[in-house]
Symmetry: C2
Subunit: 320 residues, 2 copies
Amino acid sequence: YADIGIHEDMLADTVRTNAYRLAILRCWEQIRGKVVVDVGAGTGILSLFSVQAGARKVYAIEASVLAEETRKVVKANGMEGRIEVLHGRAEEVELPEKADVIVSEWMGYSLLYESMLPSVIHIRDKWLKKGGLMLPSEATIYLAPIADVEVEDRLQFWEDIGSKYHVDMSALKPYAHRCVTRKVQVKPVEMEDILATPAKVMTFDLTEVSAEDLSCVQGAFSFSCYGWSQMQGFATWFDVLFPSPKPVLLSTSPYSEDTHWMQSVMSLDEPVQVTQDTRVSGVIKITPNNRNNRFLDMTLKYSIDDREEVERLYPMDDCR
Amino acid sequence: YADIGIHEDMLADTVRTNAYRLAILRCWEQIRGKVVVDVGAGTGILSLFSVQAGARKVYAIEASVLAEETRKVVKANGMEGRIEVLHGRAEEVELPEKADVIVSEWMGYSLLYESMLPSVIHIRDKWLKKGGLMLPSEATIYLAPIADVEVEDRLQFWEDIGSKYHVDMSALKPYAHRCVTRKVQVKPVEMEDILATPAKVMTFDLTEVSAEDLSCVQGAFSFSCYGWSQMQGFATWFDVLFPSPKPVLLSTSPYSEDTHWMQSVMSLDEPVQVTQDTRVSGVIKITPNNRNNRFLDMTLKYSIDDREEVERLYPMDDCR
């Protein structure tokens, strides 16, 4: 996370950053005069917000070499008396005192891809006072069946391109289809393409969730389609909730404003015709990849009306 | 190279693909009834062109699993009698006969980044008949001093973004500058930004160049600037030449049509004011990276008028 491009994307994402700003400022009564830990501080912006909300002390933990730069940001904002940047891994860092509040932007694509949640849990269990405040405090993953003509449009390329060169390249279409749909695709989904009321497939209470709970996350779903359409896949997204007198919701739903997280799509091998009240039901399972625990394995088991049940693994290994 | 996205980009690049098609068809007198080797055949399109030009036999060498798909393309074009797809590394594959022609699209960013040229040389030395035809037969790298406001525009972000959130993030600007300019940047350069007549810094005769010649490539340059401007860096690009009664040039210059190779930019640490006849001279050295020989180290040594000489290394490690 030392590369600046990622931080550009995150700060340019005003939906994300404003949600954190609003949530932190709204919690000023719980933050004023208190100790805050910012896990994975990055550019330090959440630490700055915490001081603006009145924190007595903020410990900004950053594992990458960016920590050196975070110190400069703190100084440029005249907050060096209030924010202490700790350069180290959350699992290894020592704080001089326990904290009243943890603030962290730990979410990855599909919520859990390359997520920092295990580090946040570690800090919570070791350094947060009993009953302390978690910002955010709850996370929910959603799933919905979708239409997705983008894949088909992209594959049309192989039908069309050959004629430019007086050859036939369409034999590559099935291979291209396998390449494109083999993995989870991080891309924007339009709300018009959602084919049924989205299901909450799992919710995490961030004040309680354990690292063990994350080793195999799963949830069931059962949809009843709105009407006649081709179903090409499933989309997932998430939201996180900030508790406060007036709660703040940061949503990455296709129904909300776009964020840099976009949505995650798992394509069916073949489109399926659905119509009003077509039943789509099953289970989604999300586990860390065996070889690299920053990567995810998403397994979908589903049936559409009385068709045969399908089970398929969608790896989420290299999304950028 | 099994990922389909790369092949989409290459086939969608009509400048590239049409140059090969034209060059191969124009060489029909040297190809008709002859044996052709296509090194790194990919989707097989250059093999198809070679059969269209009258080749008796084409050996299409492809190291990745794509080879299986290339066979399907060959069959769909009814050329399975003429094209034999060999799944293996160029260094290991055995051909049943020597070849009259080598056709290969081996060029990477800045010509040599992740390039397949060493494989082409290997095949040439082992399997090409004496005096056989190389398509292309010559490659040239160009360099020019450039204006480049894009970096400055991008860094302006750090001045502007903080005000959206009532904080000051401008302290990150120097770090962002180092991140962005540390490496060779593959991006488009506009012809208006070229500040002096480009220099040919090196030319490779592909009928003779050896793998050893590639271990340290260098060339000198001396520019005389057109006029008043800020100079922010140097750009490099290349062209390759196909010999034939009417030669074909595939150019990736900012003065030519855009290609997927774009140009490569090396930024100065600080902009330098140049004016008419300002002298910019020096040496560029391109060597394979010690740890990963698909990566490049570009070293620039230059002086601008009578300023002190600057020497800087620009790695080219992970460009996509």
